[in-house]
Symmetry: D2
C-alpha cells in the first residue's frame, strides 16, 4: 500500500545535505515525487520539502522519524515529517461577511482543501445556517468591548478543545489577544483586505479609495502580535479606476480575498509554507 | 481636410451638460469619435473628454475656443480644447539607469508616443550616447550636494528654454525643488519603483525584499512637493517569491517601471488624464 | 422619487446622435450618471449606453419610450430603454459540477447579481440540495441520448414557463438544439472552459495539457447554433506549468470559469453587452 | 576560485536518482545552490536541473563529465553538464520590425541575457543601424520568393560560421526550411504573435480582431518543421476590448512579444528549458 509523507526541513546551509537526506530516503525505500529546495544567500539558511511515496502505511511515520533523527541533529535541522493521510484540523473564525466562508467551504467540499473542520467560531450568528448546512459545529462567542478577556478565554478554550492544528481568520474582524497569537504562532492565518504594507489597519478599501490607487489587493499572512505585520504567505491584486466607488472596491476585494486566502491555506495544509524570520518560503 | 481636436472638461455636475456640449459640437459640424464621461458622486464633480473630428484645419482651434467660452462660463468649467496636431514638448530627465529611457525612445521612434523631445537632462553623462543616436540634445547638469540650488536653477532654465509642456522623470533619482514642482504642477510625471503607498522613499525594492512581499510594483504619478505622494496615474505589479534576490526584484521592477511609465505618459500626451484633488480620472 | 433607466442604442454612425439623445434626456429632466459610446470605424456603426437618473417612477418608462421613438426612427436605431428596477429573470442550467452554481448563488445572495432566479434546470439531481437551500425551484430533466428531442422540448417548455429573460449554461455540458438557440438568441450565456478559439469542443483542459500550453483560460459567450463560436463576452486565463496535471488544470480552471461567467452575467444583467455581428461591445 | 556548473538530466523515473546524483556532487566537493526536479507521472520520466558551485575553474568540467558518465549510463540519462562561464552564442534573425531586437539588445547590454551575439541576420536592411550601434555584425540576406533555397543555404552557412549555439527568430517573418529546423532542433526559438494554438499562421492580430477575443497573446516556442506547432516555452496575454483597432492589438502585442521572448530566451540560456516530446519542462 502506497503512503505519502512530507519531509520539511530548514537548517544552516552546508555541503552534502541533499545527498544525506535523499540517501536516507532511498535507503528506506522511499521515492521522492516532489522536491523543493531553497538556499537563502543572505542568511545562509537552507530550506527543503520532499514528498515521499513509500510502500507502507501510516504506522511507519514514527519509525522514519526515529531513523532520521541523527541526520537532523548533525545538520542542526528544524524539521518535521508529516503523514499526509493525517488531515490537519482547522478552526474557522468568522464575523458577518460570508464570502471567505462560502468559498472555503465550497473548496473543502470539492476536495481542494484536505483538512478537517471541527469548528466554526463567530462573534455573530449570521453565518450559522451556512455552518449547519455543511454539518459543521458553530459556536457563537460575542466579543464584548468591556470584557474581551473573558470572551477570548472562551474562544481559546474552544480552539484548544477542537484540537486545532490551525486557525483561519476568514474576515473575523477582531484582534486576537497576544497570548493566543503566541500559543498558536505560525498556525493562525489571516486574510487582510489590502496589499500590505499599504493600508494596514481599519477600512483599507476606503484608505485605498482616498489615496486614488489604481490597484487594490489582499494579503494572506500569519498572525503575530503586531497587527497586520506577520509573515506574508500570498498576495494578489485587482485593477480599479476612477469609475469605482468604495463599494466597488469592496466587491472586487472580496474576490481577491477569497482567492488569496484559499491559496494560502491550501499551501499551509500541504506543508508548503516555511517561516523564515518575518518572511515565508513558499514551495507552491 | 479632417482635423482632430480634444475637448477636456471638469465642472460641477449639473443637468444638461452633455446636451449642451454635444449640441455645440454638432452645431460646429464636429463628429464625436470618442467620448468619455465620469460623474464623481462623492464630490459632485463631472469630467468629460471628447475626441472631435472636423473638416477643417488647425487654425480653427482658436475660433472654436471663442465659441465655446459662453458654455464653459455658464457651467463653471475648467476646460481646454487641444489641437491634436500640436505635439506636446516633453523634456526627459534621467540619471544613470537606462531602461526607461531606452523604452521611451523606442516607443517615440515607433510612433507610440506622439510628442516632441527637445531635450534630455541628466545629472550624469552615461546616457549621452543614447541621446546622440536618436539625435536629441543632451544636457549634463550635475547636482552637487552642496549647491543644489544653483544646479536646479540651471535645470529650470533649460526646461523653460525648451518650452516644455511636460517633464518626465525617467528614473532621475533626484528630488526636484518645490518651486519647479509648483511651476510645472500637473505636468511633471515621475515613475516610482514601488507600489505606492507601500515603500515610498529610497531603495523600495530592498524595503520590499525585507518585508517579504509576494508582489512588487511601480507607480506613475504627478510630482507634487510632498515626496511620492502626488496623484497616481497608473500602477502595475510583478509576482515575486522567496527565490528572488533584491537584484531579481530590481530586474523585474525595470520591466514594470517601463511599462507603467510608458502607459502613463501616453495617456498624458493624449489628454486622457484629468487631475481631481490628489487623484486622477484616467480616460484610457 | 429617483428612478434609474438604461438606454442602449446601436445605429449607423452619423453626426449629431449624441446631441440629439442627450438633448432628449435633458428635455425630459433626466440626468446622465454614466455614459458610454463607441464608434466602430470598420463598420461605421455607433453604440451607446446611458444610465439615466430621473425624479419619477417605473410608470414613466413607457412614456419615455413613446417620446424617444421619433429620434430612434430618424437615426435607424436598434434600441431599448430598460427600467433598472425591473429585474431580469434568469434560468440557470447545470449538470453535476457545482462550482459555477455555488458562485452565482453566492453572488446573487450578496446582491452582486441583480436578477430573479425563478428556476434551475439540470440533467442530474446532484445540485438539488443547493437549489433547495437557496429556496429556488429545481427541475430535473434528464437528457436521454436516444430521445433528446423530447427532453429538450420539456426544457424549452420550462424556460418559457419561467418567463426567462436570459438562460445561463453554468457548465450544463449539453448542446442545446438550434431551435432553442434561435428563440433565445443573444440571451443564452455559456461558460466554455478554454480560451477560445483554442480548444473548442470536448475536454479542453486535456487538450491544453496535451499541447503543453503555459496558460489556460475560460470564455463566456453567447450561444449560437455553431458550437463554441458565438460572440465572446469575457475571457480570462490562469498560468500553468509542467508541474500541473490535467486535474490541476481542471482545478485552476474552475476558478477562472466562475470569475469569467460572473462578470459576463453581471454585465449582461446591467445591459452593458451589445452584440455586433459575431462580436460584442462591452461597456464594463 | 568558485565556479558555477549546471547539470541537466532527464531519464526514466527510478528510485534513488536524487541520492546518487547529489551524492556524486557532494563527493566532488560541489554545493547545490539551486535544485529543480520534476516527475512526469503520465510518462514516467524524471527531469532535474542542479546549479552546482565548486571551488575550481572551467578546466574541471571535462573531469566532472568523465566521472559522472557511469551514473548517467546506469540510469539511462539524457544529460549535459554546462560550464556557466561559457556563454552561449546566439544568432538573431530579424526582418523589419524592431521591437524585439531593441528589447533583446537592451537586455543583453544590461546583463540580463548572458550570451554572445556574434551575428544578426536579416532579410531587410532596416535594422542595420541598430546592430551597428551595438557593434554587432549584421548580414543582409534577402529571401527571394523564386530562389529561397539558395538564400536559406546562405543563411545556414552564416549561422554555421557564427558557431551558433542557438538561433532566435525575433519576428523574422520567414519560414525556415526543414533542413535547418532539423539541424538546429531544440535550439531555434521563435516568437509567435498569438496565444497558440489560437491563430497560428499569418496575421494573427487580425484573426484575433475578427474573432472578437478579449485577450490577445504571444507564444515563445522552439521551431519544428510544422509551422507554429513546436514545444511552447512561454506565453502571456494582454487584455483588449471593442475599443481597440487591429493597430492597437499590434501595439499591445509588441509589448507581450518582447516580454515573452526575453523570458523564454533567458531561461534557454540558463539551461532551464528541457524538451519533453512536444512539450517543455521549464525550471524558471
Amino acid at each position: 500500500m502506497s503512503h505519502l509523507f512530507r519531509l520539511v526541513v530548514s537548517c544552516p546551509d552546508r555541503l552534502g545535505i541533499v545527498a544525506q537526506v535523499s540517501g536516507f530516503i532511498a535507503s528506506q525505500g522511499g521515492s521522492i515525487t516532489e522536491a523543493n529546495q531553497h538556499s537563502d544567500l543572505a542568511t545562509g539558511r537552507f530550506f527543503m520539502r520532499y514528498e515521499i511515496q513509500m510502500d507502507t502505511d501510516a504506522s511507519r511515520a514514527e519509525v522514519l522519524r526515529q531513523a532520521f533523527r541523527p541526520i537532523a541533529q548533525r545538520f542542526e535541522m528544524d524539521w518535521a515529517l508529516h503523514d499526509a493521510s493525517r488531515r490537519k484540523r482547522v478552526v474557522l473564525m468568522v464575523s458577518k461577511a460570508s464570502h471567505c466562508l462560502v468559498d472555503l467551504l465550497y473548496r473543502w467540499k470539492a476536495g481542494e482543501l484536505d483538512c478537517e473542520i471541527p469548528l466554526i467560531v463567530s462573534n455573530h450568528e449570521d453565518l450559522k445556517p451556512l455552518a449547519d448546512w455543511h454539518g459543521i459545529p458553530f459556536q457563537h462567542v460575542p466579543v464584548r468591548v468591556d470584557d474581551k478577556e473573558t470572551d477570548f478565554a472562551e474562544v481559546e478554550r474552544l480552539v484548544d478543545e477542537a484540537e486545532a492544528d490551525c486557525v483561519v481568520l476568514a474576515r473575523y474582524m477582531q484582534i486576537l489577544p497576544p497570548r493566543l497569537c503566541e500559543r498558536y504562532a505560525g498556525r493562525i492565518i489571516n486574510i487582510h483586505h489590502s496589499f500590505l504594507p499599504s493600508f494596514a489597519g481599519a477600512r483599507p478599501y476606503h484608505q485605498a479609495y482616498e489615496r486614488g490607487v489604481k490597484l487594490i489587493g489582499a494579503t494572506c499572512h500569519y498572525v503575530t502580535e503586531e497587527l497586520d505585520a506577520g509573515p506574508i504567505i500570498e498576495q494578489d491584486i485587482h485593477r480599479v479606476s476612477h469609475c469605482h466607488t468604495p463599494d466597488d472596491l469592496v466587491r472586487f476585494g472580496r474576490d481577491v480575498e477569497k482567492a488569496v486566502l484559499a491559496r494560502g491555506l491550501r499551501w499551509h495544509l500541504q506543508d508548503r509554507v516555511l517561516i523564515h524570520g518575518n518572511k515565508t518560503v513558499v514551495f507552491a
